[in-house]
Amino acid sequence: MNKSIFKITPCFEDIMPDEYKELVESDPFGKGLGVSQLGTYKELLEEHPLCAGCGLALSLRLILASLPNPEDTVIVGSTGCSALAFPQVALHNIHSVFGNQNAVASGLKRALKLRFPDKVKDVVVIAGDGATADIGLDMVMQSWFRCENITTIMLDNEAYANTGGQESGMSPQGTVLNMAPKGKKFPKISMPEIARESGCAYVAAISPAQPKRLEKMVRRAILTAREVGPSYVQIFSPCPTNYKFKPQEMVARIKQREKEGFFKSKEYITTEAQEYLAGLEEGKKDE
């Protein structure tokens, strides 16, 4: 992206919205900023309409702050709570219909490769657990089988939250939710393992309770997808509204689940991705 394209034409400053002016004045594009610098620049998410204490909202802010190349990143989303926040994200982002996100991203990435052969254009899918593990699972897995150069990030709030709190494949076994009136009958889907076995070169599971680790994993996933192969990051982002806990308890809830052994962070890296990332990370240390 050429940054000059979003400068404000002189004499139009007074009619441009404040958030746009802030973006022009202190944008994060091309500056190599990250989670540690949050608060010192204009975030790519301008407010959001998600519930108080929403794990997705915090995760989204952290993901956007972690993008290695925000000025040339296009996001593909899907239907769900996160889709409500995307109109307020200052990146090109696509939401077509429910579940087709990895197919859309496959076509998009290939077209961008053709049009910009000498430039890196990162395509990152950010979708909920229903979109990723249920309705879109075939297209998610097929994009991995085909070794598409895209990153898939699942925001796992363990339910269909936007439609009123129904069971998803990622809800814990036994949970009573809408459409699971007697409790969910089968365990949480093992998506990281499915991703590992389906051709992802880099797989991670993490939560927003560990922002620096989350940042590292998102960056590794996107860098791996550029050169090595598809990557997957699963972000545990509990839903206070449907699991009925207080907004301020979100991070404590994640830590409690971790302590009980229901959630743990993971990282699976193929040898090829490991060598590639080690090269990049080594190079960064030398700078």
Partner: protein, 387 residues
């Protein structure tokens, strides 16, 4: 690549260059059209009777005419990936048939709503149940209000020309909508015909995504609220009005396509014997069967004409009213059980008791000319009894 191609103005490729005959099938005509269309990328998924054409597109890719091509996982995913590739600024192509069309259904209004100049060939066939892989075009009736432009080819020559012209019409900045080019499966896809082809060392100029009325998703324009959520999110009047006006603009864009269709197709319909009192009105291969019936009816001394409807969306409302203003009987033969074309015609014309919705043939049979002839005789007898 067999040969180096030169991008030229559409008028040169379509109208000025000398054409040579080729004895080819409809599937081969698809390949010949896409070869000259300067397409960036195609995505395929097998289904009868479409498959052969997409094999041939794969061969084009292997020879270097296309830059990317792959076999996707199902038709919904194909249409979604085509949507993604087009959002990224590529000129794209795909094709499907019957059940594949229905599997992908959710994506077609998305293409139109996203104002994407996607060209898709539909090799129409029966849909289950009862199952049939045979020619039938009920799927067209299901796509009438998806927002895409719909052209119905009668034969292999039409199929070739309409596919190539579809890109030109789809990519006009005042249109910028998907175009479906439809044929009745097997009758056109698997039948060999002599087709006049322009030279294959010429191709269309490349697609310029900068001419699009909506931004390309490549982070080369300022970030802004451009996908569907601003039109969906809020429960208030401004959201509803934004949604409605966007929708109206899609419909208006289809209306604006009329002049381009007139330019490239020579009109949305064609009429033989314009002064006749009786008309056979049809689209697709039913036109060919109607033409056979027409010969016999004229030999028998009846005052009959033929209306070939080429554009289904937009529908030739004024042209049809004009063509039938003195007609007393309009018989509409169709290859489907629903009779969608007859319904369209009835909704278009005054005094629509002149319209006979039939004969309708489905399940794989052809329409014998005798069936059309007897439909006309039966209708005339009914009219005489009423008198």
């Amino acid at each position: 690549m067999d040969r180096v191609q030169r991008p030229v103005e559409a008028s040169q490729l379509l109208f000025e260059s000398e054409r040579a005959p080729a004895f080819i099938t409809g599937s081969e005509a698809v390949m010949e059209a896409i070869k000259r269309a300067n397409v960036d990328m195609a995505i395929a998924y097998p289904i009868t009777p479409q498959s052969e054409s997409m094999h041939l597109i794969g061969d084009l890719y292997a020879k270097g005419y296309l830059k990317d091509y792959y076999r996707a996982e199902n038709e919904f995913a194909v249409m979604a990936a085509i949507h993604g590739a087009s959002l990224g600024g590529g000129r794209v192509f795909t094709a499907t048939s019957g059940p594949g069309t229905l599997r992908a259904m959710e994506m077609f209004p998305v293409w139109a709503g996203s104002r994407q100049p996607i060209v898709c060939a539909f090799m129409c066939r029966g849909v289950s149940l009862p199952p049939s892989i045979q020619p039938e075009n009920i799927e067209m009736g299901m796509l009438l209000d998806t927002g895409m432009l719909m052209l119905h080819a009668e034969n292999v020559q039409d199929f070739f020309d309409m596919l190539l012209k579809a890109y030109l019409i789809a990519e006009k900045p005042d249109v910028h909508l998907p175009v479906g080019v439809f044929v009745d499966g097997f009758f056109v896809t698997h039948t060999r015909e002599t087709v006049m082809l322009p030279p294959d060392d010429l191709k269309l100029l490349p697609y310029d995504p900068e001419n699009s009325p909506v931004p390309v998703f490549d982070m080369e324009t300022p970030p802004m609220r451009i996908t569907r959520d601003p039109l969906l999110n809020k429960s208030n009047f401004i959201s509803y009005a934004a949604n409605a006006s966007w929708h109206q603009e899609v419909l208006a864009a289809a209306e604006r396509a009329r002049k381009h269709l007139a330019q490239y197709l020579g009109g949305l319909l064609e009429v033989e014997n314009p002064n006749a009192k009786i008309f056979i009105a049809a689209s697709g291969t039913a036109v060919s069967q109607g033409r056979e019936a027409l010969k016999d009816l004229l030999d028998a001394g009846l005052d009959v004409g033929l209306i070939k409807i080429k554009s289904i969306r937009p529908f030739p409302v004024n042209e049809l009213q004009e063509a039938t203003k003195n007609a007393e009987l309009i018989v509409v033969p169709e290859f489907n059980a629903g009779g969608w074309l007859a319904k369209e015609i009835k909704a278009t014309l005054n005094e629509n008791n002149r319209v006979v919705a039939g004969p309708r043939v489905f399940g794989g049979m052809t329409i014998p000319k005798e069936l059309i002839i007897s439909e006309i005789h039966n209708a005339l007898n009914r009219q005489n009894q009423r008198l």
